[in-house]
Symmetry: C2
Subunit: 335 residues, 2 copies
């Protein structure tokens, strides 16, 4: 049987939620990943040192039997230097949301006034705290990410020493930005390496494939595959795995988010193998992230094997991507 081994997989964009949902989903990621960048868009958002410490403790309590490092983040606001210095040791990044752009982002940034943001972003540059950005405007749904490129440029030019991560990129426009500024990086989800808008609304409408940013056009998918499969050094895997209870997905107003955490590695093997690029998956799944973030995850070795695997219909209250469907790789062992 064909197998493939990955070392220290990292999920550089992960929603673990809180409470019962946290207890349900955190072990699924902790089982096969060495660590993950934990999104701070709880209600209320994570924006104090106490919040960070308490949320980290709740995550660790939810995964008692695994070696798993939750790389904590703060919800971006304009913070002063003293505060940033006080939290720097406890966070790995700060996540910026434009206000109201996705789930629980109401307290985000409502205007990109560089002078108002300058102190925060300069101190982050000094302290080497990366800025993770949900890069969408409030424009037409297919244009939101492309329209945000001018804001990435503004940030990249004004803060050349700030590492800026374009989160969950979905467009050719974002891929093209990667090589334009030295300090721009990106995460890509597994579902955005598989889907276009066609899969979401081209046949039946599929609520479990509905996410923000929404999957885009075929040429966008090709551009994303181009950098992921070829181990572009500035591109990292970030699942954006975003669990919602089933009733919030299958109703007259469906929440945005695709749940992929427990099948991400399997799907990535399938995609990379399909294009004969399995040898590049290690860079995408861990090595690039280690270098970009300067992190050293605990050792974990995951062996996957090529055999049919039926995706469970549910993980607790959450329906995963491809629920009930057969995928072609499965996890064989975790060491």
């Amino acid at each position: 049987m064909k197998t493939h081994t990955l070392l220290m997989p990292l999920d550089m964009h992960l929603h673990l939620r809180d409470g019962v949902m946290l207890e349900n989903v955190a072990p699924l990621t902790a089982y096969s990943f060495s660590g993950g960048i934990i999104m701070p868009n709880l209600v209320p958002p994570v924006n104090t040192l106490e919040d960070v410490k308490a949320y980290r403790a709740r995550i660790m309590a939810a995964v008692p039997n695994d070696f798993f490092e939750p790389y904590m983040t703060l919800f971006y606001r304009n913070y002063d230097k003293a505060f940033l210095q006080s939290v720097a040791d406890d966070i790995t990044a700060i996540k910026l949301y434009p206000a109201g752009i996705t789930t629980n982002s109401e307290g985000g940034v409502s205007s990109f006034d560089i002078e108002e943001m300058r102190e925060t972003l300069e101190v982050m540059s000094e302290l080497e705290i990366p800025l993770c950005v949900h890069g969408e405007t409030d424009g037409f749904v297919m244009d939101r990410e492309a329209e945000f490129m001018s804001i990435y440029e503004l940030l990249a030019k004004n803060f050349p020493k700030l590492k800026i991560i374009m989160e969950h990129i979905t467009t050719k426009a974002a891929v093209e930005m990667l090589d334009k500024y030295e300090n721009l990086y990106a995460t890509i989800t597994v579902h955005h390496l598989l889907l276009t808008l066609d899969d979401v609304v081209g046949g039946m409408m599929k609520p479990h494939l509905f996410c923000k940013p929404i999957a885009k056009r075929p040429e966008d998918l090709d551009a994303l595959l181009g950098v992921a499969l070829n181990a572009h050094p500035k591109v990292m895997f970030g699942s954006d795995s975003a669990p919602h209870p089933q009733h919030k997905k299958e109703s007259c107003g469906c929440a945005a988010g695709v749940f992929t955490a427990p099948i991400a590695l399997q799907l990535l093997c399938e995609i990379f193998e399909q294009y004969n690029k399995l040898e590049n998956l290690q860079d995408f799944i861990s090595d690039n992230a280690q270098r970009i973030y300067g992190i050293c995850p605990e050792f974990k070795e995951i062996t996957l094997e090529k055999r049919p695997f039926v995706v469970p219909e549910h993980y607790g209250s959450v329906v995963p991507m491809y629920a009930g469907e057969v995928i072609n790789w499965a996890i064989a062992s975790v060491d």
Copy 2:
């Protein structure tokens, strides 16, 4: 109170389904419309004279107390002259579906070979039977209608005496075709005068606003409003009102179709009033269709008044567009 009166409203693209659903939805249209072009995509499709007569009888039985004319259609296949002559008196149009493009269209046209279609389309021209077309390719969901324009051109050029109705157009590209060929006409739904893709998947995902063709970009909406509001003489109202039971809309694979029949006139008054074009609604709702199709519907006078109206949550098993929301016009009387 502000009122507006419409004479002989016609719905030139209507799905009445069959059985219990027919009995549920047909009275809702018959109440406020003088007649409608009845889509033939039943299972199996309507494609014999007996089918047409029997379906017409079932429709009439479902609306015993109303003056309502179901303008019957056949499901397009390549028919011979003798057959078309035998059905000409019992049908108003023939509806062409590309194979598999929407609900119950599996038996449609799989390749547009003009020579194979020539006999049918020439006889239809002679007999003055309009061809109604669902104009979408099987391409990327946002491009399907625009890609179909070359097929409209092929049909319009090869059969200059055939009246070709571009059904439920959703794009600027289709609007621009209208004036390019004398024999091209169009229907527009009320939901495509209200929605863009943003409304369907830009915030929450809205299964009750999901239809085929899918709502497109803001510039497409503007182009559609441009011709509808200004009473373009080749443009008619066709609701494409497409009822599905609630459980087929709110599930992990949602069927395409927006149910608007009982609120279409109210919404149209609201839209046309908003743009100060109420005086043009009569052309859009009836007069253009009468002239294009050469039909003379029975007299019906509908008076609407401007007052808040809460759209019911359900009509039987069907959830309408804007269920539970307030719209600003209501039907005051039907004579």
